[in-house]
């Protein structure tokens, strides 16, 4: 018989319980009802701050949405439980609905604790706990800024959440201070050395840090809005916005009211199987007090959810003790803490490496014989974390100091035992991962993570999972292939180097010497792109190079669904004269083209047939337009706002800079398409941080962001350098782009490239700004070569009869249009007929009213 499980609470831990129970309850013994207070699906609270980097709350959703379509599961959003009757086994909602249960799980989590500070309820005071909290904070700050105000923000609390909140405030453009009562930041995770390294790093991000400071009250305006924060020993801090991030308290009120045993410092007391003191009632996550304490981390909550799922199915699982390891990227600063980070084990030894200049602090805690790893703290560079954490309690087997030295000195290879935990969020061991690769056929990262769940929560273990995967594949004799395709065993970056060094300049030579066969639609465009970078003076349609181009590059236009093309003239920076616009309009009208403004501030003309392209371009070139390269894996556009020329807020000439950049990089071929943006002030009207390269003007120059966009997984660009002069800016972008072009994978966007290149953004910054690889002069020269040899592709084509001869509809009827094209007029413009429309109607419209044919 089916029994009814009611889960009170709809957060991450409740989600995990449903997922675990549904995946194991093959006999369908349980029907599940989840009563969630928030009006939304369970979401990833740990990633809340990413809401500020433009992510929709929808993107924070957890796991497979299919879970909630399961007929055995009912998710009720926006439902609050008012009381429970443990005798009658029912809960009553605030709408007086009574729901009966067989078993009940409390997963109510915790609430943000606000210390007793006077006026903490004033307008402008926030906590940092739910999507609604975060959204309200954002709206409030944006409203103040829209009024033209410089917004001052104070975050009370210098722990994890406080620093997250500070990053969020900073991202919203508020000046930001963090006030912490304890003598250091992140007092629960790092020691004094780590805390001061962290504070130093955070101060360099323009966030003021006050430690050992106690806030006393919020001072308000006559309208009752926050205006300043009073501090015990010191002057008032201006504060239009205050965020309290001073810890959380369990939401144990339902349990208290029903007589459940409550812990000394709150939380519903449970045994190691997560049972409360009342039969039929369980508690998991941040509301549960287990082993005498409440855990404010998601990993122990997940473990509890798994235990209850197991117990509900007659299993015997018990709480294994919690791992309080954390690794975070706070404001771009790496912080990790794991195991016995404070060295409380008797006889524990510390090894510390600190480099205050580089902002790095690393500590390992070892057993008294200096052989067994007990824990550690990493600030500023936590790259060793994913390898070290699973080694806690084990012998390191190498000189411990070698794990702490700066990157590049020597990579340490770890041989993890099978029972070493790799993903602590989901409790996945190295052995489980090896087994999934060896016996369950998981041959790539995505299927491996799907199968084992490793890396699907916080993601910090992904590097080690990937390494285990590759090692296991290599051991199984499977070569971990970076091969481009069957014709080349090399990766794009390797092929680039080969072509650069050998100076081969035709596909035939390259494939004969370094590949096999005659290529395909994957390797040919890659070689075309490499040749365009290394031999920028050559035209895309020159000789054999023409055969390598995909259709877009081959006809220098973008193929559309019916086989016609769209044409995009370059409009650098989006600046265009009225005469230019009239010319474009006339061309579109005369050829019957559909016109649309693109997302990158250009005009796109759709519906041009291949044989019309030269005539269209003749008109555009005569009017001074150039190819917009909208077809290539190349620089597309540089978007700009109006800048200081017209805008009352602009601090620099963003239009001028955008035009300079677009002309500098026009025609530049790359692993994927490239877009840039330039905003004239921090209001960011050009949305530059959504671009591969984003430039935002400051009072002192330009801030340079890189690696935005990300395609189907949107990413905001990250800060590479601040307050650059015009010359410094151009040089940094030159090097960034050229380094990406040389080392990017095929179709790898800059966002992914920055993430995946060894050493990440810091490495890229080092190469670009400090010439750490000694290749800067080479990159500069390569870019100079590109700039000097730029020729408009369409202009050159129009002057070359041989190239023009390719623009025919049919080799034996060069000007005869494709008779299958059909158009329908919608909103006064032509668009391709749908298959249904084609079936039922006479030909509607073929090309424009005037059919222009090239002579």
């Amino acid at each position: 018989m089916t029994r009814h499980l009611v889960i009170v609470g709809g957060g991450m831990v409740a989600h995990r319980l449903v997922e675990a129970l549904r995946s194991r309850d093959t006999a369908a013994a349980w029907r599940i009802t989840v009563l969630a207070e928030e009006p939304r699906m369970p979401y990833d609270r740990v990633a809340l701050t990413s809401y500020f980097s433009g992510r929709d709350p929808q993107d924070l959703s957890l796991g497979d949405p299919e879970l909630w379509n399961d007929p055995a599961v009912t998710l009720r959003k926006g439902v609050t439980v008012a009381a429970m009757d443990v005798e009658a086994k029912t809960v009553r909602t605030t709408r007086d609905e009574v729901i009966a249960y067989d078993e009940l799980v409390l997963a109510t989590g915790s609430y943000a604790f606000v210390p007793p500070v006077k006026n903490s309820e004033a307008n402008g005071c926030f906590v940092y706990r739910t999507v609604d909290d975060v959204a309200a904070l954002r709206v409030y700050v944006e409203r103040l800024r829209a009024e033209g105000k410089e917004v001052s923000g104070v975050v009370v609390g210098g722990g994890l959440l406080g620093l997250e909140a500070a990053g969020a405030l900073r991202a919203l453009g508020a000046t930001t201070k963090v006030v912490e009562f304890a003598p250091r930041l992140m007092a629960l995770q790092v020691d004094e050395g780590g805390g001061s390294a962290l504070a130093r790093l955070i101060r360099t991000l323009d966030i003021e840090v006050l430690t050992s400071s106690q806030v006393t009250r919020v001072k308000t305006t006559s309208q009752g809005a926050a205006r300043a924060m009073a501090v015990a020993d010191g002057p008032d801090l201006p504060a239009d916005v205050v965020v309290f991030a001073t810890g959380v308290r369990p939401r144990d009120e339902l349990g208290r009211a029903s007589g459940l045993e409550i812990g000394e410092r709150g939380g519903v007391v449970v045994d190691d199987s997560c049972r409360t003191s009342v039969p039929g009632v369980w508690a998991i996550g941040e509301v549960a007090c287990i082993e005498g304490r409440v855990w404010g981390l998601v990993a122990p909550g997940y473990a509890m959810a798994e235990i209850v799922a197991d117990r509900l199915l007659e299993g015997e699982a018990t709480f294994p003790g919690a791992d309080s390891s954390t690794k975070l990227k706070l404001l771009g600063v790496d912080v990790a803490s794991f195991g016995d980070a404070f060295g409380v084990t008797e006889g524990a030894l510390d090894i510390v490496y600190a480099d205050p200049v580089a902002g790095v602090y690393k500590k390992l805690v070892l057993s008294d014989d200096a052989r067994t790893l007990l824990g550690g703290i990493l600030v500023g560079d936590a790259s060793a974390y994913s390898g070290l954490r699973p080694m806690v309690g084990r012998q390191l087997g190498a000189d411990p100091a070698s794990y702490l030295l700066p990157e590049g000195s020597q990579p340490v290879q770890l041989d993890l035992p099978d029972d070493a935990p790799v993903c602590s969020c989901n409790n996945v061991s190295a052995g489980t991962i090896r087994c999934a690769v060896r016996e369950e056929g998981c041959g790539e990262l995505k299927s491996l993570c799907g199968k084992t769940k490793a890396g699907t929560s916080c993601g910090s273990c992904l590097p080690i999972v990937k390494r285990l995967l590759n090692t296991e594949l290599a051991a199984a004799g499977v070569e971990v292939s970076k091969a481009l395709c069957e014709h080349f065993a090399l990766s794009r970056a390797e092929l680039f180097d080969v072509v650069r060094v050998t100076e081969l300049r035709t596909f035939s030579e390259i494939v004969e010497r370094h590949g096999n066969g005659r290529g395909c639609d994957i390797c040919k465009p890659v070689v075309a792109s490499i040749l365009a970078s290394l031999d920028p003076a050559g035209h895309v349609l020159d000789g054999e190079r023409a055969t390598l181009q995909d259709t877009n590059d081959h006809v220098m236009a973008n193929i559309q669904k019916d086989g016609t093309y769209s044409v995009v003239p370059r409009i650098p920076g989006g600046e265009v004269t009225p005469e230019g616009l009239i010319t474009i309009g006339e061309v579109a009208r005369d050829f019957g083209l559909y016109t649309k403004i693109t997302g990158g501030q250009r005009v796109d003309l759709f519906g041009a047939r291949i044989e019309q392209l030269p005539a269209i371009w003749k008109r555009l070139v005569d009017a001074g337009f150039e190819s917009g390269h909208a077809y290539g894996k190349s620089l597309r556009t540089v978007k700009s706002c109006v800048g200081s020329t017209w805008c009352r807020y602009g601090v620099q000439d963003s239009v001028g800079m955008a035009i300079a950049l677009e002309l500098r990089y026009r025609g530049l071929r790359s692993p994927h398409k490239l877009k840039l943006g330039v905003s004239g002030c921090a209001r960011e009207c050009a949305e530059a941080r959504g671009k591969d390269v984003g430039i935002i003007a400051t009072e002192n120059g330009w801030n340079l962001y890189v690696g935005g966009n990300g395609g189907m997984t949107p990413r905001h660009a990250q800060l590479l350098a601040s307050d650059l002069s015009d010359e410094q800016l151009l040089q940094a972008i030159d090097r960034f782009l050229m380094y990406y072009i040389r080392t990017g994978d095929r179709l790898q966007r800059t966002a992914v490239w920055v993430n995946e290149i060894e050493g990440g953004l810091d490495h890229v910054r080092d190469v670009v700004l400090n010439d750490s690889l000694g290749i800067a002069a080479d990159l500069d020269a390569a870019m100079a070569g590109h700039i000097d040899s730029y020729v408009d592709e369409w202009q050159a084509t129009l002057q070359d009869p041989e190239k023009l001869a390719r623009f025919v509809s049919f080799v034996n009827a060069p000007d005869q249009p494709d008779a299958d094209l059909r158009y329908v007029v919608e909103r006064n413009q032509p668009r391709p007929a749908t298959p249904a429309e084609r079936g039922q109607m006479e030909p509607v419209l073929l090309s424009g009213p005037r059919l222009e044919v090239r002579r």
Binding site: E486, A546, T551, K561, D562, G563, I610, V808
Partner: protein, 112 residues
């Protein structure tokens, strides 16, 4: 009895190695390809997946020993000799016989 007529379409010289051209035979659109070794192949120009007449604009190459063209629209790869799609066994493009006689490309496109 069906008569197969070979129609002269163009001179061999206008075909560039490893590229295609479209041609009209009556109302029928065909795509002609010249591979690296000089062989000429003819397929229907209609891309059965996208429904557009674009096959002649695909990238010519090889898969194993098979001479291929990839649809420029969604990149399915076809055997130039038979029109068989190598990525989906259910999809085939009509293939036509080709001869090169006296520098002219002749295509046998059924009994039209």
């Amino acid at each position: 009895m069906n008569t197969i007529t070979a129609v002269a379409v163009c001179s061999y010289d206008v075909l560039l190695p490893e590229r295609g051209v479209a041609a009209l035979i009556g109302q029928r659109q065909i795509a002609l390809f010249r591979t690296h070794d000089g062989t000429v192949y003819a397929l229907d120009n209609h891309d059965p997946v996208s429904g557009a007449n674009v096959m002649s604009r695909g990238i010519v190459g090889s898969r194993g020993d098979v001479p291929t063209v990839a649809s420029p629209m969604f990149k399915e790869v076809y055997d130039l000799r038979t029109g068989q799609c190598l990525d989906d066994p259910d999809v085939t493009i009509p293939a036509y016989g080709v001869q090169v006689v006296d520098g002219q490309v002749l295509v046998s496109a059924g009994d039209e």
